[in-house]
C-alpha cells in the first residue's frame, strides 16, 4: 500500500498523540507540578517571531511555576553556539530554535531528541494538544527527519522538532502603486517579468525587493524562483542539475530583479530586503510570510494600509517556499521534560493564537482560520492558499546543504548578481565544487 504524504503525517500524528488520550484531568493538571521552581533555558534568535514569543514567557512561568531563561543570539551565530553547547556532555540548553536547514545535520550527529517519547508520555503530553491541527507542510518540513531523501515524510521519518516561526512565500505588493499604474498583480512569471520593467520605469521606486548578499541570502533569493520555474538543485540520483535551463532562467530572473529593484540588492540580507519594502523603496516583496507581522506597524513601516498580498506567481508550476524556524530538544539538555513542556505550551492552540496576535507567525490551521485573527490579518486567506502549494522539497535539507549553500552556490550566485559572471558561467562553474562536496559526503555520483 502506498501512502501519500498527508496521510502519513496524519497517521503519525494520531499514533504519537493517541498515546496521551486516555490520560486527562488530574494528570493534566499536575503536568507541571514536578517541574515547578526549575529553570528551562531556551536558545532563540533575534527574530520578530521570537520577539513576540518572549512576551508570552511570563505567562508560562505564572501558569506552571517553571522559570525560563532566554539566550538570544544573532541568527548568524546561532548554529555555532548550538553545536558547541550540544557537543558537551551536558549542555546549557533545554530547548533550542533551529533553522530548517540544520535539522538533518543535527539528527545525523545525534544532537537532538526524537519527540515521540515525550508525546507518548502521559505525564507530560497535553491531551488537548491536537497535533493534526499543525499545518502539515510545516510539521513535515521543520520536524521530520529520516524519511525519503532524509528529510521528507514517509517510511522512516521521525519527528525531531516542531515548527515555530515557520514560513512560506507570498507576494506582497503596493496596492496604491499598482492602482496608480493600472497594473495587474502578476499571476505568472511572464507577468512578473513585465511588472518589474513597468514598475522600474514608472513607479519612481524599485520594482521588487530581494535578498542578495553573498552566501545563504542570495541562494535563498534564487531558490524562490528556481522551484516555480521547474528547477531543482539535484536530480533524483543526487547529481547537480541546478545549471540546467530552469536554473539559468531563475538566475537570469534574479539578475533582472537586481537591475530593476532598489539599489544595493547584492548586499541585502533579509533585514535590508524587508526594510526597503517597509520604507517604500520597492513596490513588491516576494519572500517570507513573516513580513505580515510588521507591515502594518507604524513604528516600523511607512506603507501601512497600502499593502496587499497575492500568491507566489506561477512559473511552469505553482510552488511556494517551505522553511523558517523550529524548536527542538537537545540530547544533552539538563531538563528535557521541562523543555518539552515549554515547547508544548508555546505551540498549543491557545498560545499559537497569542503569539500571532503579537505579530508572530502562526503554525496551526485553527489560528489561520480564527475569525478574529483573520480580521486582524486578512492576508491569512492568501497564506492558507499558498500553503497548499508549499513544496517540502524546496531545498535539499541534507547534512551538507549548509556547506553547499554558503560556500559554493552562495559565492557563484553572488558573482552573477554583481555582473562578474554570466548566469550560465556562474552555475556551470559551481558544478565541480558541489559534486566534490557530495562525493565527500558519501553520495555515489
Amino acid at each position: 500500500m502506498t501512502l501519500d504524504r498527508r496521510t502519513l503525517i496524519k497517521n503519525a500524528s494520531i499514533t504519537v498523540f493517541g498515546a496521551g488520550l486516555p490520560f486527562s484531568g488530574a494528570i493534566a493538571q499536575n503536568r507541571y507540578a514536578k517541574y515547578a521552581g526549575k529553570s528551562v533555558t531556551i536558545n532563540i534568535p533575534a527574530h520578530p517571531h521570537y520577539d513576540a514569543m518572549s512576551k508570552l514567557l511570563p505567562e508560562f512561568t505564572k501558569e506552571t511555576g517553571i522559570k525560563v531563561e532566554v539566550d538570544k543570539l544573532a541568527i548568524g551565530r546561532l548554529k555555532e553556539k548550538q553545536l558547541l553547547e550540544m557537543s558537551k556532555p551536558q549542555g546549557d540548553y533545554d530547548l533550542a530554535c533551529y533553522i530548517v536547514m540544520w535539522k538533518g545535520e543535527y539528527v545525523s550527529k545525534n544532537l537532538v531528541q526524537p519527540l515521540e517519547p515525550f508525546f507518548a508520555n502521559a505525564a507530560l503530553a497535553d491531551p488537548a494538544y491536537d497535533m493534526k491541527d499543525i499545518i502539515p507542510i510545516y510539521l513535515e518540513n521543520l520536524g521530520l527527519v529520516g524519511g525519503p531523501k532524509g528529510y521528507l515524510a514517509g517510511p522512516g521519518a521521525k519527528l525531531y522538532g516542531l515548527p515555530y516561526g515557520a514560513e512560506t512565500s507570498v507576494l506582497a505588493y503596493r496596492r496604491d502603486v499598482f492602482a496608480k499604474l493600472n497594473l495587474k498583480v502578476p499571476e505568472t512569471y511572464d507577468d512578473f517579468s513585465k511588472a518589474l520593467r513597468v514598475l522600474k520605469d514608472q513607479s519612481g521606486m524599485g520594482a521588487l525587493s530581494s535578498r542578495g548578499q553573498a552566501g545563504h541570502q542570495c541562494v535563498h533569493a534564487w531558490l524562490l524562483h528556481l522551484n516555480p520555474l521547474g528547477g531543482g538543485v539535484f536530480d533524483a540520483q543526487w547529481k547537480p542539475r541546478f545549471n540546467d535551463k530552469a536554473g539559468v532562467a531563475a538566475l537570469k530572473f534574479l539578475q533582472d530583479v537586481v537591475a530593476t529593484g532598489p539599489a544595493g540588492i547584492p548586499g541585502f540580507g533579509q533585514g535590508e530586503a524587508n526594510t526597503a519594502f517597509l520604507q517604500g523603496q520597492a513596490a513588491m516583496y516576494l519572500d517570507s510570510t513573516s513580513l505580515a507581522g510588521v507591515v502594518n506597524d507604524p513604528a516600523r513601516s511607512k506603507v501601512v494600509g497600502n499593502v496587499s498580498w497575492a500568491m507566489h506567481p506561477m512559473g511552469t508550476k505553482r510552488a511556494s517556499q517551505s522553511g523558517g524556524l523550529g524548536l527542538t530538544i537537545p540530547k544533552n539538555a539538563k531538563n528535557p521534560e521541562a523543555g518539552f513542556l515549554l515547547m508544548q505550551w508555546l505551540t498549543s492552540k491557545e498560545q499559537d493564537k497569542a503569539v500571532t496576535r503579537l505579530g508572530g507567525a502562526p503554525m496551526r490551521n485553527s489560528t489561520m482560520t480564527n475569525v478574529d485573527l483573520v480580521r486582524q490579518y486578512p492576508e491569512f486567506v492568501v497564506f492558507k492558499e499558498a500553503l497548499k502549494y508549499s513544496n517540502p522539497d524546496w531545498r535539499p535539507i541534507i547534512p551538507v546543504w549548509d556547506r553547499i549553500n554558503v560556500q559554493a552556490l552562495g559565492v557563484g550566485i553572488s558573482d552573477a548578481l554583481t555582473g562578474k559572471k554570466s548566469a550560465e558561467d556562474a552555475l556551470n562553474g559551481m558544478v565541480p565544487q558541489v559534486t566534490q562536496i557530495m562525493r565527500e559526503a558519501g553520495y555515489k555520483i
Binding site: L83, Q213, A214, G264, R403
Partner: protein, 291 residues
C-alpha cells in the same frame, strides 16, 4: 650579585606556564586538529587521522589563495593608512592645547567599541538606500553608491571601517612614545638649525622607531585576524571579493564543518603573520639591546 638559576626559574616559571597554557596549547591543538577529519558536534573518538590530506585540500583550494591575497591587500592598505594617520594625529596633538583631554578621549573611542557593533554601525552607514555616507555624498551632488553591492566598493568599505576603528590604537601608542622623547634632544636639534620636517623625520620619529615597529607588528597581526566587522558588513561578498582568510577559516570550520581543513588554513595564516612580524621587528627590535 650572583643570582641562582632557581631564583630565575621561580620568578619566570609562573609566567612561562601561563603563556604555555594560554598561547602554546591552542597553537599545538590547531596543528593536531589539522591532521584529523572531524566535525563539530561529533565525538572526538570518531575523528579520522588523515595525515597531510587537510593541508593538501587547503593548499589545493584556489579560494584559500584568493582569500590570502585579499587579506594581504586589506592588511597592507589598512595598516599603512592607520600608521600614517595615527602618527600624524599624535604629532598634531602631542603638545598641550586647550580641550586636549576631550579630543584624546574622542579619538580613542572607536577602538573601545565591540567589533560586532562597529560592523553593524558601518553596515547602516553604508546602506545604499538610507545610509549616512550616501546622504553626505548627496550634499556634494555625488550620486549614491551601492557600497556593499559592488566588489570594489565593498572592499573599500571594510578598509574604511578598519581604519576608523584602529587608527586610534596607533595614535595612543605614538602619543605615549612621543611623550618619552627627551626635550633636550629636540632643543639641541633646534639649536643646530633643524627645521620642523627635519626635527620630525630625522630626530623625533627615529627616536621612537622601536614603538613604531611594535605598533606596526601588533596592527599587522590584528589586521590578519579581523573577522567580526567583515562578517557583519559583507559576509565576504559580493562573490568572495571581501573574503579575508579569517572569514574563510570561519566558514570552513563552522559552515562547512571541515575543522581539520580550517586548522590547516589557520597554520598557513600563522606562518604568514609570523613572517610579517619578524620583518616588522627587523625594522627596529626593542628587545635586541637587552640580548
Amino acid at each position: 650579585m650572583r643570582v641562582s638559576r632557581w631564583t630565575t626559574a621561580i620568578y619566570l616559571g609562573p609566567a612561562v606556564l601561563v603563556m604555555a597554557a594560554a598561547c602554546l596549547y591552542p597553537v599545538l591543538t590547531a596543528f593536531q586538529l589539522a591532521g584529523f577529519k572531524w566535525e563539530m558536534g561529533t565525538p572526538w573518538d570518531s575523528a579520522q587521522w588523515v595525515g597531510l590530506d587537510n593541508f593538501a585540500a587547503a593548499f589545493g583550494n584556489e579560494q584559500v589563495w584568493s582569500s590570502l591575497w585579499t587579506t594581504l591587500l586589506f592588511a597592507g592598505v589598512c595598516v599603512a593608512a592607520e600608521m600614517v594617520l595615527g602618527i600624524a594625529l599624535a604629532l598634531a596633538l602631542e603638545h598641550p592645547v586647550r580641550g586636549m583631554a576631550i579630543f584624546r578621549t574622542i579619538f580613542i573611542l572607536p577602538m573601545m567599541i565591540a567589533p560586532i557593533a562597529v560592523g553593524l554601525a558601518w553596515r547602516y552607514m553604508f546602506d545604499a538606500q538610507f545610509g549616512l555616507i550616501n546622504a553626505v555624498l548627496g550634499l556634494f551632488n555625488i550620486k549614491a553608491m551601492t557600497w556593499l553591492a559592488d566588489p570594489t566598493l565593498a572592499f573599500v568599505a571594510i578598509v574604511i571601517a578598519d581604519i576608523w576603528q584602529w587608527t586610534p590604537f596607533v595614535f595612543i601608542m605614538m602619543l605615549a612614545a612621543l611623550a618619552s622623547v627627551d626635550g633636550a634632544v629636540m632643543e639641541a636639534a633646534r639649536i643646530d638649525g633643524a627645521n620642523w620636517w627635519q626635527q620630525i623625520f630625522l630626530v623625533k620619529l627615529p627616536m621612537v622607531m622601536h614603538v613604531i615597529a611594535i605598533t606596526l607588528m601588533m596592527r599587522l597581526i590584528d589586521a590578519f585576524r579581523v573577522l567580526e566587522v567583515v562578517y557583519v558588513l559583507t559576509f565576504g561578498g559580493p562573490g568572495n571579493s571581501t573574503e579575508i582568510l579569517a572569514l574563510h577559516i570561519y566558514k570552513t570550520a563552522f559552515v562547512g564543518q571541515q575543522m581539520g581543513v580550517a586548522a590547516a588554513v589557520s597554520v598557513l595564516l600563522l606562518v604568514v603573520v609570523a613572517g610579517l612580524s619578524w620583518a616588522a621587528l627587523r625594522l627596529s627590535n626593542p628587545m635586541k639591546d637587552d640580548a
